[in-house]
């Protein structure tokens, strides 16, 4: 059957609690697929580029839902929809950066169905890979994007290692900026991973975008109060305002005394396989006054070390400008 035909059949499981879901994942291992809102998954199935035997629908599991204010910030269940994240009063009061990033994902219909967990765990959007080609990320031994004839306008500036795909998620950059923690469960128990270490590049594992193993479920995201109420900035530049993924996006949180920058976290998406925390920029501007000189220094250090491909040189000035604004206009 040609590509683009209907989905291949699979077994659909709808466990009502976490324990059942985990034992199903244990049972089917690499042949299983976790389904949340399906906005990434169903495309893979329709294109038949992924053909799991058992699809485990996480939608009925209450333990993965809900937004709770805790003593130390906010905990958001992985199954919370992007619409809920974007419109939730507590999130927007404490961390408007996250609410805003969620509101910039895809389209209204997609945000109504897509979940925060799915947005963080979604796979690369490289069109060669999604077309079903046997590239490195798909287990083959070639990169179609990073080849003389490859179209790589949307690919990376940093961290290339055979694969040059970028992180597609708008919420991921916001959560790395906010120093969030990912709560992951498997049959052996629960663990907490800093958002910054949750996403992995091709140098760590070229077939995955996150540390999650087949038996792992992302349960929730904890955002500590550290940056609640801080100054913030989010901007996404894409070809169209609806649907399109970021060419580059930026998220920052800043603490000031007068106009001196006391503390800052700043992260760019669309430039590397993982959300790129700009630690050099952070170090350069900490303790400085917010003025043109600081913005210029920040912009220059943001793009230092970039290795553009044939068609994505434009991302360098784009990234520099976004970083400048993310510090100036926060």
């Amino acid at each position: 059957m040609a590509r683009g035909d209907m989905m291949k059949g699979f077994e659909l499981y709808q466990p009502a609690d976490l324990d059942n879901a985990l034992s199903l994942l244990d049972k089917f291992g690499e042949e299983s697929w976790k389904l949340a809102g399906g906005q990434d998954s169903l495309d893979w199935f329709k294109d038949r580029a992924k053909q799991p035997k058992a699809v485990i629908d996480l939608g009925g599991i209450q333990a993965l839902r809900g937004i709770t204010e805790t003593a130390d910030g906010i905990e958001i269940g992985a199954l919370t929809t992007l619409r809920e994240v974007a419109t939730n009063a507590a999130i927007n009061a404490k961390f408007p950066l996250l609410g805003t990033a969620a509101s910039r994902v895809a389209s209204p219909q997609i945000r109504n169905q897509a979940t925060l967990g799915g947005n963080l765990c979604q796979d690369a959007r490289c069109w060669y890979y999604r077309y079903g080609l046997d590239c490195y990320r798909a287990g083959g031994n070639k990169c179609y994007a990073d080849s003389p004839e490859g179209v790589n306008r949307e690919h990376c500036l940093f961290g290339a290692d055979r694969c040059v795909a970028v992180t597609p998620s708008d919420t991921a950059v916001a959560l790395v900026a906010l120093d969030a923690r990912m709560v992951v469960v498997n049959k052996d128990g629960e663990r907490e991973i800093a958002a910054e270490n949750f996403f992995i590049g091709p140098d760590v594992n070229i077939t995955r975008m996150t540390v999650l193993e087949p038996g792992d479920i992302l349960k929730s995201v904890r955002i500590p109060a550290t940056w609640a109420g801080a100054r913030w900035y989010f901007e996404k530049v894409a070809d169209r305002n609806t649907w399109d993924f970021a060419l580059v996006n930026v998220a920052s949180v800043i603490k000031l005394t007068g106009s001196t920058i006391d503390d800052i976290r700043i992260v760019c998406g669309g430039v590397q396989c993982v959300p790129r925390r700009l630690t050099v920029v952070e170090e350069v501007v900490k303790g400085s006054v917010r003025n043109d000189e600081t913005f210029e220094l920040a912009a220059q250090s943001a793009s230092r070390g970039a290795t553009p491909l044939n068609y994505n040189h434009f991302k360098i000035p784009l990234m520099e400008n976004l970083v400048r604004r993310a510090i100036r206009d926060a």
Binding site: M7, G9, L12, A106, Q113
Partner: protein, 224 residues
Amino acid sequence: MSDDMNNSGPYSASPTAVSTRSRTSRRNFIKGVIASGATVSAGGYLMTMAGCSSDSGDGGSASAPAPGTVERMLVLNVNGERRTVDVLPQETLAMTLRYKLSLTGTKLGCDRGECGACTVLIDDVAYNACSVLTHTLRGRNVMTIEGLAAADGSLHPVQQAFIDELGPQCGFCTPGQVMSAVALLKENPRPSRQQAREAMAGNLCRCGAYDNYLNAVMRAARGA
């Protein structure tokens, strides 16, 4: 209700339908669809079977559901009616509506979440029917374009406003546009033009009739 998600726990083997369903041939399946009142348009015939029949090509799983998997028969609430329908695990709502329930007002444009032609309401919120598995909708209320007009045939105010403002050109995107507008006005009966623009942003129109549609949404809001 044996097909209710709350009752059929994760490991409940389907008590009914297994034996009959397991030997359903493609021919009987088609007969069954026709007998149950669904009409199958000639053009969509093969596609219908590719998308909805478990034993076409390599598209099928084993015919008998594995223990613990979903029960294929389910009851859907569509446009205020309870409809019993046989749904494959991998079937999207758009497929079920169009090819099982004959509700062809819901259009399939891209089948990838990129156009909004398939927009329907689920519990009053807009979703792309091409991108939701029907099996995840047990117990929820689906509303399609066919369910908007009153029993006496008078149009929903949004439909009327779309006509009054000459909204559609070719009309292919129109059902989706109407459903997005209805969802918006349920949530926010007096939107600003900018709010309406944002709410309609998930519906593409190849004819470019966006301004007419926006005018129609604002007219419906004034009248609502």
